[in-house]
Amino acid sequence: MGTSAASIGAAIRRTVIDQSRRAHVGHIGSALSVSDLLAVLFGTTMNGTPDDPDRDRFVLSKGHAALALYAALHEAGHLSAEDLDTYCADGSPLGCHPEHPVPGIDFSTGSLGQGLSLAAGAALAARMQRSKRRSFAVLSDAELNEGSIWEAVMFAAHHKLSNLVAIVDVNGQQALGYTRDVIDLHPLADRFGAFGWDVHEVDGHDTETLERTIAGLDVEQGPPHVLLANTTFGYGVDFMESKIEWHYWPLDEHQYASAVEQLEAAR
């Protein structure tokens, strides 16, 4: 098996299915939709090990996709298989939302709308400390309902935080319905553009395009960057795709077998 971001994404999806089945917990659809985004970031894009003070920083602002993050950290060699098997176990630091005491997790998250400010602070710190490190944040699209996100959007644009890269997981889904029916975000690219950001609309499951797009960003000068990554909620498992119930449900035995079969067939 190679170490392309695509193969890492597939491995993340398999871990998400295995661990959510073992732990009998939900948030599966959302973890699958960011699988390729995290594969690119942790597999082939971000610099530095967790103990390097000059590492690139990462914020999973949509903290409920934590399982995908643990899987990505595992693929990157920062989290052992034994640790991964404590997901949602009593006393484990690996809960349904990420906690910073876990090596490789820079910021604890879980309350939506806070992560972009953290990432903006991290980007500003890098500039003040004359470091070339970058700051990445993965946001959910529904999270953009939070007003505080737009405080951070304005701040980052005003200060031209070119080393800040926000990636919005545009899966069109939120907790009680589709984003277009709850709080319509359209036209999202125009909105970010109007706020002064460098906007890129990308396929959030096309790892090569994601890698190329991020590599092509000017992180030394100019505006902050946002990738509007069009993704599929529940990606890779046909009965989950774009089905809101998979924000909540754990897998039963039959569903698990079917999901594994589909994911393995697609590898």
Binding site: Q114, S117, A120, G121, A122, M128, S135, S148, E151, F155
Partner: protein, 308 residues
């Protein structure tokens, strides 16, 4: 004491390049010296307190010591969850500076009165609260917390003069005592030391001996000092420009109960949301029983045989 406090931050920044200053678009005539001296470490983040705390958290994670400045209500209540999930959860040295505690903003009305800031901050484990009584104590408190590797909430009032007998004494987790009377303990939160010491003078004229205990820090809190003080003083009166719930009135009740003391406690403070009533701070203090005269009256009534 705002200018002196801002001067203190500037002095810290002179010797510590980790120090940065963020403001939520407030601090006219107060923050300019810092902005001019350290333009690369000063950021007016605009009227956006949530983002201010989030950015401060990101800065602190990278090793900076950011001060985040606004009016006390806006600094504490608007970004409260950001404070909880940011510097409190990550145990990072973010300094939140809330100016104008309690009723300080007088005519500006209830939106500007910080009447629960100390209470809500006290709920967060590991968030140190500092309420300097006067400029000298503010300087000492900034010094004492300069290297603290956890968040601090500073409630910076408008007291511009020194409190007689305090002489800038400040120690985290300790109460500063003024006087040694044994009839009543006047336990004051920060700048209310002014009213407490004046009330003590009035009581002294009536042959009532008071000890003033100035509480200027919580988390760590002066639990042992209060327990020792109240071991042989039967009447404790807390004085705070804050709701009577959640602040030092509540703290003192906890000390009395947990140490099995038998002091009576009277809590002076704001008891109801002051809707539709503004005025000068002096007027408001009088209305809420927080003037020296009203405090002395409260003590005298309590000490009468039928005072209960």
């Amino acid at each position: 004491m705002r200018p002196q406090f801002a001067q203190g931050i500037l002095q810290l920044a002179e010797r510590d390049d980790r120090v940065a200053l963020l403001t939520g678009d407030l601090g006219f005539t107060v923050l300019e010296p810092f902005a001019e001296r350290f333009p690369d470490r000063f950021f007016n983040v605009g009227v956006a307190e949530q983002n201010m705390i989030g950015v401060a958290t990101g800065l602190a994670e990278a090793g900076m010591v950011p001060f985040a400045y606004s009016i006390a209500t806006f600094a504490s209540l608007r970004p409260y969850e950001f404070i909880r999930n940011g510097p409190a959860l990550h145990q990072l040295p973010v300094r939140i500076v809330g100016v104008g505690g309690g009723l300080d903003y007088g005519h500006n009305g209830v939106s500007h009165y910080a009447l629960e800031d100390v209470g809500v901050m006290r709920l967060q484990p590991g968030v140190t609260i500092v309420v300097p009584a006067d400029p000298a104590q503010a300087a000492a408190a900034l010094e004492a917390t300069a290297d603290l590797d956890r968040p601090v909430y500073f409630r910076v009032g408008k007291e511009a003069q020194g409190i007689p007998g305090l002489e800038g004494r400040f120690e985290l987790g300790r109460a500063a005592l003024i006087g040694s009377g044994r009839d009543v303990a006047l336990i004051a939160l920060g700048p209310m030391a002014r009213q407490a010491t004046e009330a003590a003078d009035r009581l002294n004229e009536a042959d009532i001996g008071a000890t003033v205990a100035v509480i200027s820090s919580l988390n760590p809190s002066p639990e042992e000092d209060l327990a020792e003080l109240l071991a042989d003083i039967r009447l404790a009166v807390t004085i705070e420009s804050h709701y009577v719930n959640g602040g030092i009135g509540t703290f003192t009740a906890e000390v009395i109960a947990e140490h099995g003391l038998d002091s009576r406690l009277i809590r002076c403070g704001v008891r109801d949301m002051p809707r539709g009533v503004t005025g000068t701070v002096g007027y408001l203090n009088e209305e809420h029983g927080l003037s020296a005269e009203r405090i002395a009256e409260t003590v005298q009534i309590a000490l009468q045989p039928s005072g209960r």
